[in-house]
Every structure is written in structure tokens, then in C-alpha cells.
């Protein structure tokens, strides 16, 4: 009998601990990668070299620049040792609280996203390329032959609602930062952020209702499972194929939620300087930026999970590839899981790339144009999309 922690089998406990830790580390690493790729990708687009100066000196006159990755480290060090400037008259509590409101929801919402399918450790470690690992294969095969878990922090059955609830908290960060800084430009940025995020949350939700109607699931695990089915025996039932309009509506609304170009008017540097985080300096400013990068990753994860089948690989079943033309490629359980993880990461990377590319090729909207787009175009379109979806579902279409 295994020992227990808080009444939970210690192996289960450490497994979940490991999965949750891996996912959160993934998010933070992606934040760092995004701040690197923001520089490098824009440099590629704009015919520049990009960040490459910060480096760790090595012996014999060599330098470790890691293609600009060291710049992230240099930024963090710089922000940590800078003067922590605060405005003269400000609301101390709210000023400091705002950072957490901006940062924590971005990391928290990812808890309900599945990163890969079911893992059965006993079977997983039997793959020929994993057998060399000491004692783990034998341990799971001998003691926990039926133990399985999902690569997901928490399988809430209200997954999407949880994401919207946590994502909605994000707006407090901007409002509080703008209001508590006691600066007219910050205030304006905070108000712009509030109106923009609240307006776009509605069309974001509306565009996803169609997905919920079609797949009859609201938890992300169920949505991904439903998307890995095939329509007419060959087309994966991905959201992009069943809800193409919703995909574009969602991507527009999500970029607006994210306050990124072309919707970055809450922080328009040429108009209101930096908007709501104008009065934040040093590491506090860095945390706002970092939260923004993590939000991009999260938007990419949402797009992957809701419209591109999450971790599912087309025609990959639990035992291998079943191609629509009848051929069958058997794969071990470990290979399937690894393929799923890779497929999920690749899709996320693709959307991160797409969002960065959008950010660097479009100019900024004006306040009234953003409101017009949100209320007069995206919202009606998402309602039309929803009604058509409901009619088709009611007629037994999907």
C-alpha cells in the first residue's frame, strides 16, 4: 500500500503536481519565448537583425548570445535594479494590486486546457525508447497497472465558463492601474481598456456559443474529444471547419481582449504614452508586459483548443493512424501521447506567430472605430452565426 498525502495516493499526488508544474512552466517559458520572438520576428519582418547584443562572456573572447535570448535575462536584471518610481499622489493599495490582477488571471486560465490525451504510465514507459529509464517502467507496471491521468491541470466541467470568468478579471488590472496611477493619460488608458474588453468579451462569448451548441460540451476536454471525430469519414471535426466564421470573429475579439495591435489603444504609446501602465516602472512594468505575452500564448491555446482540435492529430486514434484511404499505421501509446503533445505545441506556435505577424503589420484603430467594430460588426455577425448554427443543429445537421 502506498503512502498518502491529504488522503491522496502519493503517486497520484506527484503525478498531478508534475503535470501542473510542467504546464505552468510551459506558460512562463512561452512568455519568455514570446518576448524574444517579438523582437526577432519583427526584426525579420522589418529587415533588421534584432536583439543580439546582450551576451554572457565566455573564455577565449567568445560570447554566449543565444540568438538574442540573453536579452531577456538582461531585461529582467535591468528592471530589477532600476529605481522603483512611483507617482507622487497615488492609491498605494490599488496601484500594487493592479499588477496581480493583470498577471494572475493570464496564468490561471490555462488550468482547464488539456495539453495531451490520457496517459497510462504503465503502458507509456513500455515504449522501446523509454525503457532505459530506471525503475519507473517496472514500478508502474507492477504497482499501478490501471493508473491513468490526463495532461490537464483540472478537468472542470464548466471549462469555458471558468476561462471567461478568470479572463474577465483581467480587466480589473487595467482599470485599477489606470485609475490608481493618478494620471490623466493612465486614466484614459484604463477607461479605454475597460470599454474595449467588456465590449469584445460579449462577441467573444457569442462566437463560442456556436461551438458549444455543435459539440454539446462546455468543458475543454469534451470539446477536444468531440473535435477529434471525423465527419464523412475523412474530415476532422475541427472548429475551423464547422464554424469558420466564428473562428475569424473569435480571433478578432481575442486580439482585442489581448489589447494588442491593432487594438492596442489602451496603451497607444503615441497618443496616451503607455496608457494604463504609464506610471509603472522597473519590474512592475515588466510584469505587465509579461502578462501580455502570456495572454498571447493563452489566446493561441484557445484558438488551438476550440478551432484546431486541441492536441488531436488528424486520423490519429489511440492505437495509431487510421487514414481515410484505409491504411493503418500502428503506434505505441507513448508515441501517440508524444505526437499529441507535439501537435498541440505546433498549433500554439503557429497561432503565436500569426498574432505577432498581425501585430507588426497593422496600424492602430481609433477608439470609436473599435467600438463600431465590436458592437456593429462582430456582435451582429456572431449572433447571426449563432442563429444559423442553432437552426442547423436543430435540424440535426451536425
Amino acid at each position: 500500500m502506498q503512502s498518502t498525502i491529504l488522503g491522496i495516493n502519493i503517486v497520484y499526488f506527484w503525478t498531478y503536481f508534475f503535470v501542473a508544474g510542467a504546464i505552468f512552466i510551459f506558460m512562463f517559458m512561452m512568455g519568455a519565448v514570446m518576448s524574444w520572438s517579438e523582437r526577432k520576428q519583427s526584426a525579420q519582418l522589418q529587415d533588421r537583425i534584432g536583439a543580439n547584443r546582450a551576451a554572457i562572456p565566455l573564455p577565449f573572447g567568445k560570447k554566449l548570445a543565444l540568438w538574442g535570448f540573453i536579452n531577456n535575462l538582461a531585461d529582467a536584471i535591468k528592471c530589477l535594479i532600476k529605481e522603483d518610481f512611483r507617482p507622487q499622489a497615488y492609491d498605494k493599495l490599488m496601484y500594487n494590486l493592479a499588477i496581480f490582477f493583470a498577471f494572475i488571471p493570464a496564468v490561471l486560465a490555462v488550468a482547464v486546457v488539456p495539453f495531451a490525451g490520457v496517459v497510462k504510465p504503465a503502458e507509456f514507459f513500455q515504449a522501446w525508447y523509454l525503457k532505459w529509464i530506471p525503475w519507473l517502467p517496472e514500478y508502474f507496471a507492477a504497482n499501478l497497472p490501471d493508473f491513468s491521468f490526463r495532461v490537464q491541470v483540472a478537468n472542470l466541467n464548466v471549462g469555458l465558463l471558468f476561462i471567461f470568468a478568470i479572463g474577465g478579471l483581467n480587466v480589473f488590472g487595467s482599470i485599477l492601474a489606470g485609475w490608481s496611477s493618478n494620471n490623466k493619460f493612465s486614466m484614459m488608458g484604463g477607461l479605454r481598456a475597460a470599454s474595449q474588453m467588456i465590449s469584445y468579451e460579449i462577441s467573444m462569448g457569442m462566437s463560442l456559443l456556436g461551438i458549444i451548441f455543435i459539440y454539446q460540451h462546455i468543458d475543454l476536454w469534451g470539446l477536444v474529444q468531440a473535435q477529434s471525430d471525423l465527419a464523412w469519414g475523412w474530415l476532422p471535426k475541427w472548429g475551423i471547419f464547422l464554424q469558420p466564421l466564428a473562428f475569424f470573429l473569435f480571433i478578432a475579439a481575442a486580439v482585442a481582449e489581448n489589447k494588442r495591435m491593432p487594438f492596442d489603444l489602451p496603451e497607444a504609446e503615441s497618443e496616451i504614452i503607455s496608457g494604463y501602465f504609464l506610471e509603472y516602472s522597473g519590474f512592475k512594468m515588466l510584469l505587465f508586459m509579461f502578462a501580455e505575452f502570456i495572454e498571447i500564448v493563452f489566446v493561441a491555446i484557445m484558438l488551438t483548443t476550440l478551432f484546431f482540435g486541441g492536441f488531436s492529430v488528424p486520423w490519429l486514434m489511440a492505437d495509431g493512424f487510421h487514414f481515410p484511404w484505409g491504411s493503418y499505421v500502428p503506434l505505441s501509446h507513448a508515441s501517440v501521447v508524444i505526437l499529441q503533445i507535439i501537435s498541440f505545441q505546433l498549433k500554439v506556435f503557429f497561432f503565436c506567430w500569426l498574432l505577432q505577424q498581425l501585430r507588426w503589420s497593422l496600424p492602430r484603430f481609433r477608439y470609436d472605430q473599435v467600438m463600431d467594430l465590436g458592437w456593429k460588426i462582430l456582435l451582429p455577425l456572431s449572433i447571426v452565426n449563432l442563429i444559423i448554427t442553432i437552426i442547423i443543429v436543430a435540424l440535426g445537421g451536425f
Partner: protein
């Protein structure tokens, strides 16, 4: 000059009554305007201008434009130095088009002297002026892009501009402030290789311009941000004394190069692009078209530049050849007199103007027969736009200040002198 009235629709009371404002819950007519101080250290204000705006919601109901933060007393400084020593100050007027400023200033002095410049010099001045104009329009349109958030076209423009600036470096020894003109000539000649390379650079810029057109021309966001924003009528623009691309965007084809031809502009084949509505988009578009026209002029100039001397024979106005300075006593004395006293034009007064990148750049010089100007006045094109800028901005939104101010292309050095 008649007074420019604020159109009724831009009056504070009227703006408040306008429908679209009443629709916004945060801007009911009972709200009192918020005063926001924009500049001079606001990133969009170039550090040289201050705007005090009254905002209702995001709409500007009143704005007070205060230029003058870069006033260095340039005219007075010129009056305390001889004509040649004052030349570097003209570099710093519109520091992006130092050539045009140089040639405008030296042109006025030459008119005062009555000097005929040589053919090669006139062609070279035309070429340098147009290359300069290209760089200025690049800079202005790049600033518009970056200010409305499109960083990529901004950097494409900067790249194209830098090719030309680096090439200026080879001819003059400086990227930005050249002090290249001399009374009756130029500081130094250029080689045929330099001209061929200049042609190559212009041709290399075309793909970059194509990329920029591709990114901006049909970009819905860009069109929405610029079309119908910052409109000014023909009459208002003329009454305010505005010239240059700003005036041409309203549909008035006034260009000093065509109206009062100087240098070689009347011997070249080019046209004056005009806009229609006088809004931000027209100003952007007129500048883009002028870049193309300047390309045409430059390519023609490069073909047509004749061989020959660049300096005229009027040694009372400019320095003699070095061989004469070292080889003859007359040459040495000539050199000495020009350096110590400066060229001494006959007493009199002159107004001469050139088409600078932002409009008519005029130099009014009163000479009392000494080597120093008795009075020198610069007519800066962008200063006159500042006079109506508030009327253009009022009624638009806070975010519109930025592209409007960008398309004005207010250059602090020139505006505030």
C-alpha cells in the same frame, strides 16, 4: 489677409451638441471638459510643441497649440556672423532637408550679388534638392505610419531614407547637416560614379516603396484613420498662408518650382500632384506622389548633368582655388578677405524663396553692404500651419491629433527657428 473663422460645426457648443457625442454615455453635455496637457515632452509632440486640449470624452472641444519650444534665435545669430558663417544655421532649419535650406539661403545672397551660377552647379543643386525632398517625405510619411502604430512601414521608410543619407555622406561628409552650398557654387564636386550610384539607390528604393504601398494603400484601418480626418478647405488654407504639400492636398496646384521656377526646374519634365479634400489621407498621398515626381526629376538630372566647373568666376563672393591661394598673392588676399569679412553683397534687400519639403521657404535679407546681414528673416512653411492647426483639430478625437500633427510635418527647427 482675412480672419479664418472657426467653422460653426467646430465651435465648442456645437461640438457638444453633435449626435455622436451624445450617444456616448461618458460624454453627456453636462460633463465639463477635462484639460489635458499634451507636450512638450509627449512623444508625439517632438519635444517642441505643447497642446492644451479640452476633452469631452475623447473628443477635443478646444485646443491651444503653443509652438516655440525650440526657438534658438537663429535669425539673430545669423545677423551676428558673416554670410558664410551663418550657413550652418540654415542646415538646422528643417534638418531633414538641409540641402534645400542651404540652396535657398545661398540663392537669396546670389540674387543680391547678381551672380550667375554655372550649369553644373545648377543641375547639382536641383538633384540634391530633390533627393533631399525625397528623404523629407520619407521621414514625414514614416512618422505618420509609426504614430498610428504601423512600425513596419516606418522602418521600411527609414531604410530607404538611410540609403540616400549614407550616399550624401560620400558627397558632403555628413549625413544630415551638410553646409554644402557656397556663394556662387558648391563646397565640392561629385564624381560620375557617385551619380551612377545615386541612380542605383533610387532604383533600389522602388521595391521598398512598393512594400509600403502594399501595406498601407488598401489597409482599411489606415484609410479609416486618415480619410476625412483633419480636413481643411482651399480657402482656409490659402488664407492662412499655407504652402507646400499641405496646400496642394486641398487641390491648389501652387508649387514654387512651377510658379517661380528657379534652378533647373523649368527644364525638367514633371508634374504637381494635388489632392482633393485636404484631409490626412490626401496629405499622405500627395507626399507619396511627390516622392515619385522627385524620382523622375532626380533621374532626369543624373542624365542631364553636364561636365564643367561648379564654381562661378566671381571670386569676390567665394573662395578662390587652393592653387591660387598658395601660388599667388592676389589669391591669398582674396581668401583672407572672404574668410575675415565674408562676401560683401551690395546694399539692398531681397526676398527669395524655394520650394522646401513643407512649402515655400523664404529668406528675406537686408544688406547694408558689409559682410554681415543687417536683417535676416526666414519664412518657415510649417510655422504658418501652426496658426490653423487648432481649427483643424477641434471636433476630432484625441487619437486624431497624432496623424493630423504627423501630416503637418511640423519640424521644430524650421518652425521655431
Amino acid at each position: 489677409m482675412t480672419e479664418v473663422d472657426i467653422p460653426a460645426k467646430y465651435k465648442v457648443e456645437e461640438v457638444r451638441q453633435r449626435k455622436e457625442i451624445l450617444e456616448l454615455p461618458i460624454a453627456s453635455p453636462s460633463d465639463s471638459p477635462v484639460k489635458v496637457n499634451i507636450g512638450p515632452s509627449h512623444p508625439a509632440m517632438h519635444g517642441t510643441i505643447k497642446m492644451i486640449a479640452d476633452l469631452v470624452g475623447e473628443t477635443i472641444v478646444n485646443i491651444d497649440v503653443e509652438p516655440g519650444f525650440l526657438h534658438r534665435g537663429m535669425e539673430k545669430m545669423c545677423e551676428n556672423r558673416n554670410y558664410v558663417s551663418a550657413l550652418p544655421y540654415t542646415d538646422r532649419l528643417n534638418y531633414v532637408t538641409a540641402f534645400i535650406n542651404n540652396f535657398g539661403y545661398i540663392g537669396a545672397i546670389e540674387k543680391l550679388f547678381g551672380i550667375e551660377i554655372t550649369e553644373r552647379c545648377a543641375w547639382l543643386r536641383t538633384l540634391f534638392s530633390e533627393l533631399s525632398r525625397i528623404t523629407d517625405h520619407y521621414t514625414c510619411n514614416a512618422a505618420i505610419c509609426s504614430e498610428i502604430g504601423a512600425m513596419t512601414p516606418f522602418l521600411y521608410f527609414m531604410q530607404a531614407r538611410d540609403y540616400i543619407w549614407e550616399h550624401f555622406n560620400w558627397a558632403t561628409g555628413a549625413r544630415q547637416t551638410y553646409s554644402y552650398a557656397r556663394v556662387g557654387g558648391l563646397a565640392r564636386d561629385v564624381t560620375r560614379d557617385w551619380l551612377d550610384k545615386a541612380k542605383q539607390i533610387l532604383l533600389d528604393n522602388i521595391p521598398l516603396l512598393k512594400d509600403i504601398h502594399g501595406l498601407m494603400d488598401k489597409n482599411r484601418i489606415f484609410l479609416d484613420r486618415t480619410q476625412g480626418v483633419g480636413e481643411i478647405s482651399k480657402e482656409d488654407a490659402i488664407n492662412a498662408g499655407i504652402t507646400g504639400p499641405f496646400l496642394r492636398s486641398t487641390g491648389v496646384a501652387y508649387d514654387v518650382r512651377k510658379a517661380l521656377p528657379y534652378l533647373k526646374y523649368d527644364e525638367l519634365d514633371w508634374e504637381v500632384p494635388v489632392g482633393k479634400y485636404g484631409d490626412n489621407y490626401d496629405r499622405w498621398f500627395v507626399r507619396m506622389r511627390e516622392i515619385e515626381e522627385s524620382f523622375k526629376i532626380c533621374l532626369q538630372c543624373i542624365e542631364k548633368i553636364p561636365e564643367g566647373p561648379i564654381n562661378s568666376d566671381d571670386y569676390y563672393a567665394h573662395l578662390p582655388e587652393k592653387s591660387e591661394v598658395y601660388g599667388s598673392i592676389e589669391g591669398l588676399i582674396n581668401h583672407f578677405k572672404i574668410i575675415i569679412d565674408g562676401p560683401k553683397p551690395p546694399a539692398g534687400q531681397i526676398y527669395d524663396c524655394v520650394e522646401a519639403a513643407n512649402g515655400e521657404l523664404g529668406f528675406f535679407i537686408v544688406s547694408d553692404g558689409t559682410g554681415t546681414a543687417y536683417r535676416l528673416h526666414v519664412r518657415p512653411p510649417s510655422f504658418l500651419i501652426m496658426g490653423v492647426l487648432d481649427k483643424i483639430i477641434i471636433g476630432h478625437q484625441l487619437a486624431d491629433i497624432i496623424p493630423i500633427f504627423g501630416t503637418v510635418n511640423m519640424v521644430g527647427g524650421e518652425c521655431d527657428r
